[in-house]
């Protein structure tokens, strides 16, 4: 409660109380923070560095506050360093079969060059992490959360070994010779089009392509975590700083940090692992049933399939919802009531710069989850009106071909 008492560390200490709280705790162990290739570039450009999931990352930059950076991304384009995320390449002829044993995705029927949001599940159907899987001709390109990197790798490798021991042909390689740089916002496509000198109109959202941008060989995924059109670009370490400078040289582009990233993803209704998803939550409860391919629902064959199939058949007892809250913003942990009865809690919440309302997501008992349901959220001992609201809270700007 003493955020203002430590003004010099204010961005870190205030942000540490908000959505990414768990991820920040890694800093308290005293371990040295990891740095991305862009670390010094962030500092030179006014980045306020904070510990995040064991990494030193910019929460914001001195030229724009979090709200202004958020609005800039919604109207123009922003660059985010997301190199701390875990990127892996999966090879071997049985790679699809193996990944279907540990995720709920229908990778078999995913077109080559396309990607999907998915989840790694445990034996109880709980979510170990959320992930993006991109299917290429010869491999899978898989990105998951920095904060889950160690446990993801331990989990995947344990199952990988068992799979290999049964004669399965699959291999995993961590991609540590590339940085991941996201450019997000309605003007992101125009910025990249100018650099590559051709239209990207036929490049669908959630597709991934190998492209050469100003002589730099990149993997470009049309995806992101802001609700806007945009790209997540994997760039060789040696070119990462020059590449970022090239993006920032465009007057439509500003640097953005973790602060804006969090409010942008929340408005877009996207989950933050550790807050909105965890190992006790199934994809059905989390509103991520759509990530489970139809074939996978019928056939199962992934960890926790029995539990998930049972929930799909008989329903769930709690569900993830969006809320618009009156009065003070409701943050992580705020209790949710229906007619005086405790029915759940908020898992992420903030004042929304785009809508000027307080938005939140959380879990409530099945039955009080329908859009328009009036609930109450308790903030500092006071119950405030909150209405269940369909997400995203802002219209999605994803590119349609």
């Amino acid at each position: 409660m003493s955020a203002l008492k430590f003004a010099k560390a204010l961005p870190a200490s205030t942000f540490a109380r908000s959505a990414a709280q768990r991820a920040y705790s890694a800093a308290a162990t005293g371990e040295a923070l990891k740095k991305t290739v862009l670390h010094d570039y962030h500092v030179e450009n006014g980045g306020k560095m904070v510990p995040f999931a064991g990494w030193s990352m910019p929460v914001q930059y001195s030229n724009l506050g979090v709200g202004a950076s958020h609005n800039w991304t919604r109207n123009n384009a922003s660059v985010f360093d997301v190199s701390h995320m875990l990127a892996t390449r999966i090879t071997g002829k049985d790679r699809v079969k193996f990944y279907e044993t540990i995720t709920v995705a229908d990778i078999e029927n995913l077109p080559v060059g396309s990607s999907t949001l998915s989840v790694f599940t445990n034996e109880n159907g709980g979510i170990i992490d959320d992930t993006i899987i991109c299917k290429h001709q010869d491999s899978l390109y898989v990105v998951s959360n920095a904060g889950c990197a160690d446990k993801d790798l331990a989990h995947i490798r344990a199952h990988l070994k068992a799979f290999q021991n049964k004669g399965g042909d699959v291999d995993l390689k961590i991609i540590d010779d590339h940085q991941l740089i996201a450019i997000q916002g309605p003007k992101a496509a125009a910025v990249i089009e100018e650099l590559v000198g051709k239209s990207l109109q036929d490049f669908p959202f959630m597709d991934g392509r190998f492209m050469t941008i100003k002589g730099i060989e990149c993997h470009v995924a049309r995806s992101g975590y802001t609700g806007e059109d945009g790209f997540e670009i994997s760039v060789p370490n040696s070119d990462a700083v020059e590449f970022t400078k090239m993006l920032i040289a465009d007057p439509r582009v500003e640097l953005a940090g973790l602060g804006a990233r969090d409010s942008l993803r929340l408005e877009a209704g996207l989950c933050l692992y550790g807050n909105d998803l965890d190992e006790t939550t199934t994809p059905v409860e989390a509103g991520l049933t759509w990530t489970i391919g139809k074939r996978r629902r019928a056939e199962g064959g992934f960890l926790g399939a029995e539990k998930i199939q049972e929930q799909l058949k008989n329903g769930v007892t709690r569900r993830r919802i969006g809320l618009v809250v009156q009065g003070a913003p409701a943050r992580e942990g705020a209790p949710i009531y229906a007619n005086g009865e405790l029915v759940g809690k908020v898992t992420s919440g903030c004042p929304s710069p785009s809508t000027k309302k307080n938005v939140a997501m959380g879990y409530v008992k099945n039955g009080v989850h329908k859009s328009g349901t009036e609930l109450e959220v308790e903030v500092r001992g006071r119950k405030q009106k909150a209405v269940v609201t369909k997400m995203p809270f802002v219209p999605a700007g994803y590119h349609k071909v």
């Binding site: 203002l4 003004a7 205030t14 942000f15 929460v59 979090v66 004042p351």
Partner: protein, 126 residues
């Protein structure tokens, strides 16, 4: 960074102005508003509340987080700045004009614990 010389300051980044009638006006410093970023909501105490120095007095919410504001001195809340309910961003625009509340101090002896502008400037290292 603006630090008016006629105000007193706290290490927790509140400013205090002692009015001629002995009432004190309280706000947050330029340094605090800048570090907090866009202020979107203020929760102020009700008039008549009695509070001890150092206790949480109000809450300021930015997009990032909720932060406590502490009572610089002990006393009773006389008045809150109602205009901030509709326009919390006024604190960012001019933190010394956008006062938060007025208090009746219970002991003038506590004023001695407050910093002058120069001491506060040194405490924030600017």
């Amino acid at each position: 960074m603006k630090l008016p010389a006629d105000l007193k300051y706290t290490a927790s980044h509140e400013w205090v102005r002692v009015e001629p009638d002995g009432v004190v006006t309280i706000g947050i410093t330029d340094h605090a508003q800048e570090a907090l970023g866009d202020i979107v909501f203020l929760e102020l105490p009700t008039e008549g509340t009695k509070i001890a120095a150092g206790k949480a007095l109000a809450v300021i919410e930015s997009v990032k987080a909720a932060s406590d504001i502490y009572a610089p001195i002990s006393g009773e809340i006389l008045e809150i700045n109602e205009q901030l309910a509709d326009e919390p961003g006024a604190v960012n625009a001019d933190p010394y004009a956008a006062w938060l509340l007025k208090m009746k101090p219970s002991s003038e002896a506590e004023f001695a614990s407050l910093m002058d502008a120069e001491a506060y400037r040194q405490s924030i290292g600017s």
